[in-house]
């Protein structure tokens, strides 16, 4: 009888959680991020905006601990519930290959986003991929830097084991038309270590006139190093991603631009594209690059106001 109580109270709880079924199509967005990852909040907000605008239901699912094997189960589950489309990150090609190809084999349209490459997306048979190609993002940064006169640079790589990081540096070098060679330094993650390595490099190579950092982990200590050396604002400085220190540096003129992969688009576009595919059968034939978007002194105010919600 206690069990009955259990059931009654759980039933009430559940009933409260079941949302009213909206008309229109139902899509499932499966990410690899654990609950604690706040970066994905932007994507959740984008899903909400898109589903409101086009009148569909989008369910956001993720493995609570970030366990990719659990994520594979979620993709299988999504396929079993027969949605009108699935949007999924390719966090690990090996693990997700089976579940994603099965879903596609059942005739469910799939768009891949964020992690993974366009090639992997094609290999799975997905409609298209929405993400930021790392090499191209680095190249776009390099083109901007070249226009502003950079000829010799240092790429501060704090995550050298990740192939994507190396591609960013490579793209930057290629855009400048110079060899990457020893201009990419393995800085490690420790802030003091990064700072010292950057100082040492700039002292040893005083003709360096460009810096690329790959995220807050390498950007923040580099800003500190430049301030200490009195070189802030003297050297062209671009970075990936944003945080409080980086936006302050953009306002100060220390950093010329920050590259934003615009996660909003990774949530918004797939929903709109899949809806139109379900309703009218139209879909762009090629993958979409959500980034690089550039954050500079001109738009930093707007970006800061929306940081964490839409940017």
């Amino acid at each position: 009888m206690k069990k009955l109580l259990t059931a009654v109270s759980t039933a009430t709880l559940l009933a409260a959680t079941v949302p009213a079924m909206a008309d229109g199509e139902r899509f499932v967005f499966v990410s690899h991020a654990p609950d604690s990852d706040s970066w994905w909040n932007v994507i959740k907000n984008a899903l909400e905006v898109a589903s409101d605008q086009v009148g569909v239901t989008v369910e956001y699912r993720n493995p609570p601990t970030g366990d990719l094997a659990d994520m594979a189960r979620i993709v299988e589950q999504a396929a079993a519930s027969n949605p009108n489309g699935i949007i999924v990150t390719i966090a690990d090609f090996n693990v997700l290959q089976g579940p994603i190809t099965s879903a596609i084999g059942q005739g469910i349209p799939v768009i891949t986003v964020n992690s993974g490459t366009i090639d992997q997306s094609k290999q799975l048979g997905a409609l298209l991929h929405v993400g930021q190609p790392e090499y191209d993002a680095g190249k776009a940064a390099g083109e901007r830097a070249k226009a502003e006169g950079v000829t010799k640079f240092v790429c501060v790589n704090h995550y050298i084991t990740n192939p994507a990081s190396v591609e960013r540096c490579q793209g930057y070098a290629d855009a400048l038309g110079v060899e990457l060679g020893s201009q990419m330094i393995d800085s490690g993650m420790d802030p003091a270590e990064v700072k010292n390595k950057v100082s040492a490099y700039l002292t040893a190579n005083p003709d360096t006139n460009g810096i690329l950092t790959l995220g807050p982990n390498s950007a923040d200590p580099t800003i500190a190093a430049l301030n200490d050396m009195g070189k802030a604002g003297q050297i062209h400085f671009g970075t990936f991603d944003l945080d409080a220190d980086i936006s302050q540096a953009i306002k100060d003129g220390t950093i010329a631009f920050a590259i934003d992969q615009q996660p909003f688009l990774q949530g918004y576009l797939p929903v709109v594209l899949l809806t139109n595919y379900a309703r009218y059968g139209v879909i762009p034939p090629n993958s979409v690059n959500s980034g690089p978007g550039f954050v500079t002194k001109d738009n930093i105010e707007m970006v800061e106001a929306q940081a964490g919600t839409y940017r």
Binding site: K2, K3, L4, L5, T6, A7, S9, T10, A11, L13, L14, A15, T17, V18, P19, M21, R26, D35, T57, E59, Y60, R61, N62, P64, T65, G66, D67, L68, A69, A72, R73, I74, E76, Q77, A78, A79, A80, S81, N82, D92, F93, N94, V95, Q97, G98, T101, S102, I104, G105, Q106, G107, G125, T161
Partner: protein, 365 residues
């Protein structure tokens, strides 16, 4: 009639003090509930059934080990880390070192069971609560796993196991499926759904019963028979009920407990092997929080945290409830972050029920 041992016990009371009764009623209610609210969502179509069966079977694998250990009066918090560790060992041995998969699996099992034995040995020797000892192994194993995989591959995910496992006899025991012919035949007759496009077009969407499920059923049966039909089963109850009293009557308490730690490690390794064979890769973050999920299943299934009381069937039903609720919430379209609210609620109500039952049995106030 003054002798309480001869006293008549009412049928109702007798039924109520069975540990799995609560879980049985709970399972029935959970199914009824989801049939009602998610009956047409694909949850009870074949593909949906496969989905929650596999998830429940995963929980059951580790719940059986945790259940026997808990009845023997101990905890193992290192189950989740053990899953990550075992998988990574298999992947490193097979992919990086080029060992045949069967050898990698066997060695991984040997290492895991040895670590389980070490856990038990430390608990017995130091007299420390197993909670603390296995909490230490939780951290040690997780750290070792990350270090080992970074050291050998510079990554925390090791892929390529599927290619290495191609045609291996032992890999099929963990990652294969049975009854595939039967399912293909049903698919061919159009009785079950088949793929409509892509490389697998024409094959059934559900191609067989995964070995994971077979392992879970086998372990549940083994655990149940061991506990209820053998002398060793009585020893497990005795060791967890009152270790000192059990020693006085000649039960080898230390041996029973160490063996149960080893069995728990074995179950974790089965879980890890099935996972690695199915997905073809191992990752250092696999199995996070699984130790608590195992304990939750066992507790929903009616075992007492203090040991000496519980049932494997109950734990299996607990795993079923856990799996069905987790996947069912998804099928019913509820917000996924509320799943934990729901789980916590079930857990606390189950524990309240269990405490009530214990008072009924022991008569304590």
């Amino acid at each position: 009639m003054t002798d309480e041992r001869l006293q008549q016990v009412s049928k109702l009371r007798n039924a109520l003090i069975r540990p799995e009764l609560g879980a049985t009623a709970g399972a029935v209610l959970v199914f009824a509930f989801f049939l009602l609210i998610a009956g047409d969502s694909g949850m009870f179509a074949l593909q949906g059934i496969e989905n929650w069966t596999v998830v429940s079977a995963q929980f059951a694998l580790i719940a059986v080990g945790a259940c026997l250990l808990m009845i023997a009066g101990e905890f193992d918090l290192s189950v989740g880390s053990m899953i990550g560790f075992a998988g990574t060992v298999i992947a490193i041995l097979s992919v990086q070192w080029g060992w045949p998969i069967w050898a990698a699996i066997l060695v991984s099992f040997a290492i895991c069971i040895a670590i389980g034995g070490l856990n038990g040995f430390l608990v017995i020797r130091t007299g420390l609560p197993s909670f603390i000892v296995t909490l230490a192994s939780l951290y040690i194993l997780r750290g070792l796993t990350i270090w080992l995989s970074i050291l050998t591959t510079r990554q925390t995910i090791i892929g390529g196991v599927k290619e290495a496992a191609q045609g291996d006899w032992l890999a099929a025991v963990f990652g294969g499926k049975i009854l595939t012919g039967f399912f293909a035949w049903m698919g061919g007759n159009g009785w079950i759904a088949t793929f409509s496009q892509g490389p697998k077009a024409g094959q059934p969407v559900v191609s067989g019963v995964p070995m994971l499920v077979v392992w879970a059923v086998a372990l549940i049966l083994f655990g149940h028979l061991l506990l209820t039909r053998t002398k060793f089963g009585n020893w497990i109850f005795a060791a967890g009920g009152d270790a000192q009293a059990a020693r006085y009557v000649g039960v080898p308490v230390s041996r029973v407990k160490v063996l149960m730690f080893m069995f728990t490690a074995f179950c974790a390794c089965v879980f890890a092997t099935c996972q690695v064979m199915e997905f073809g890769s191992a990752a250092a973050d696999r199995g996070l929080l699984k130790e608590f999920e195992a304990i939750i299943c066992v507790v929903i299934g009616g075992a007492l945290l203090t040991g000496g009381y519980g049932s494997v069937i109950g734990a299996a039903l607990g795993a079923l409830i856990f799996g069905v609720v987790q996947q069912g919430l998804f099928f019913s379209g509820a917000e996924s972050s509320l799943f934990r609210v729901f789980l916590g609620t079930i857990l606390i109500l189950a524990v309240i029920l269990n405490t009530y039952i214990r008072r009924m049995i022991t008569g304590e106030r």
